[in-house]
């Protein structure tokens, strides 16, 4: 097997090129059961959802209990939401507020709760609509939210609570995280979602012409409720900048707190029911799904014809910059049917990286 690092965005050329040959993709569990089947010619996604028994999981020395029957359904629903297929309830209300004509004379700013970053709500459901309208957006990110992202990584990945170190690393992008890739000590699902949240911050920063990010500067105060800190610090930034404030959350406590402090709030609720067959998928959503699956499950195997590719989302020694860029490790067999496509994907990836540097 050969291996190369690629950026998350380079899954688009991968899917593009594989679809040229009308390949089917199977996302496999560690025991080679099919979890999802993607028909690239018809652009259909079928969720097969084979769970793995406790006995098999022990044999495989794997991973976490995401594959267990009870958890798999909610993990799949989560993945579909994270990759843009399953919008949470309340998203239409949010979009109508963001994209509709405002009667307020003040500019609108939305405060992001941690779970909004964890679930990639902005990049999956808001940014695509925003890009079409070319409306700009003010975003407030409380320090408490960044701290929660950091603490999820620190607790689960580094097994330390040294928050300041994690946050410093987050900004300076110097630290590498070491952990077991599989088995006990592997990053939990929450930690992997935190890693996706770091990438989400990176994506939002990339659209700085369209999205203006404000961060609160006050220190995290121990003893105070986090939801109170989040709402209160955003209220302060909004007042300083004369913004009309909207708190965006998926958490009931934060909503209650926002109402107590007389702030407008939209609460999004994840959907748990999903269709087992999704038809006519845009290719871009398929590449998002592959990224989310690789991150949520730690690694995935993709059956492509008779061959299998591995897409690894978390590996020991992955630096914060790599988490932020959404870097993935691609492992592939050196066989002719795939090598032409992989060669073009890797070339496109190197040029894409160079273009990002010059821009």
């Amino acid at each position: 097997m050969e291996s190369s690092y690629i950026l998350k965005d380079s899954l688009i050329p991968l899917v593009n090129y594989l679809s040229e040959d009308d390949f089917d993709l199977d996302i496999l569990t560690p025991g080679s059961h099919t979890l999802m089947h993607i028909d690239l010619s018809q652009k259909n996604l079928e969720i097969v959802m084979n769970s793995i028994s406790d006995y098999d999981l022990q044999l495989l020395g794997s991973l976490d209990d995401i594959y267990r029957p009870r958890k798999l359904r909610s993990a799949i629903a989560d993945m579909l939401m994270l990759s843009g297929f399953l919008p949470p309830r309340g998203i239409d209300e949010l979009l109508s507020v963001l994209l509709g004509k405002s009667s307020e004379s003040r500019e609108l700013a939305i405060c992001l709760d941690t779970n909004i970053l964890f679930n990639r709500i902005l990049s999956q459901y808001v940014l695509p609509r925003l890009l079409r309208t070319e409306k700009s957006l003010n975003i407030l990110i409380p320090r408490q939210v960044e701290a929660e992202v950091g603490s999820n990584l620190s607790r689960d990945v580094k097994r330390t609570r040294n928050l300041s170190k994690i946050l410093q690393a987050l900004r300076e992008s110097e630290m590498k995280l070491f952990f077991k890739v599989y088995g006990a000590g592997a990053p939990s699902l929450e930690a992997r979602k935190a890693a996706m949240a770091i990438h989400e911050l990176g994506v939002l920063e990339r659209y700085r012409g369209l999205i203006k990010i404000y961060r609160s500067s006050e220190l995290v105060t121990p003893g105070l409720r986090p939801d109170f800190l989040i709402v209160n610090s955003c209220k302060r930034i909004a007042e300083e900048n004369s913004f009309e404030l909207l708190i965006l959350t998926m958490d009931e406590d934060t909503r209650t707190c926002a109402r107590m402090l007389r702030c407008n709030v939209v609460k999004l609720i994840p959907q748990t029911n999903f269709p087992y067959l999704i038809e006519n998928l845009p290719l871009i959503n398929i590449s998002e799904l592959l990224y989310v699956a690789a991150m949520s499950l730690g690694f995935i195997r993709l059956r492509v014809g008779a061959a299998a590719l591995e897409l690894i989302g978390s590996w020991s020694g992955k630096s914060f910059e790599e988490w932020k860029q959404g870097k993935l490790l691609l492992r592939y067999p050196k066989i002719s049917i795939l090598s032409k496509h992989i060669r073009r994907v890797l070339k496109a990836d190197s040029i894409f990286t160079a273009l990002r540097m010059v821009s």
Binding site: I12, N16, Y17, S19, A348, I351, F352, L355
Partner: protein, 155 residues
Amino acid sequence: MWALISPLGLKPIVSLNVFWILTEELGIDVKKVVFIATPKSTSSLSWLPQIFNKVRAVKVESYNVEENFNDMVNTARVVLDKLLSEGFKVIVDVTSGRKIMCIALFNEAIDKADAITYLMLAEHAYDGVFYPYIPKGLTKLVVLRGNLSEGGSCT
């Protein structure tokens, strides 16, 4: 032996996309690229040739023109005649650059170039996006005139 003439617009990735399709997707052996730039679009010339050379080793030349039709027609004629005299088969792409520049170039190329191409894009959201990152089916290189016989057809 092919040469590509590409007017340079404010989104130079469009020129890169045409070059990528010709060389990587259609397998056309482009040996030389000539950019025609206006004063507003010259800034990308500081980095664009390097990126082109990452796709494939190629000789890059550039010509600066003023924003008037006569200058553009004259430059298009000089560039085309020079490439033809050097023995190149010439592809003229009229996707990027000012409209007036594309018209001047098209006008000169219509009887001289081996192919005139235009890169269609179905969704504006992907304007300025590098070709392999545009979902398949949303963009297509159209041959307006002539053919690209060496490396296959453009469908």
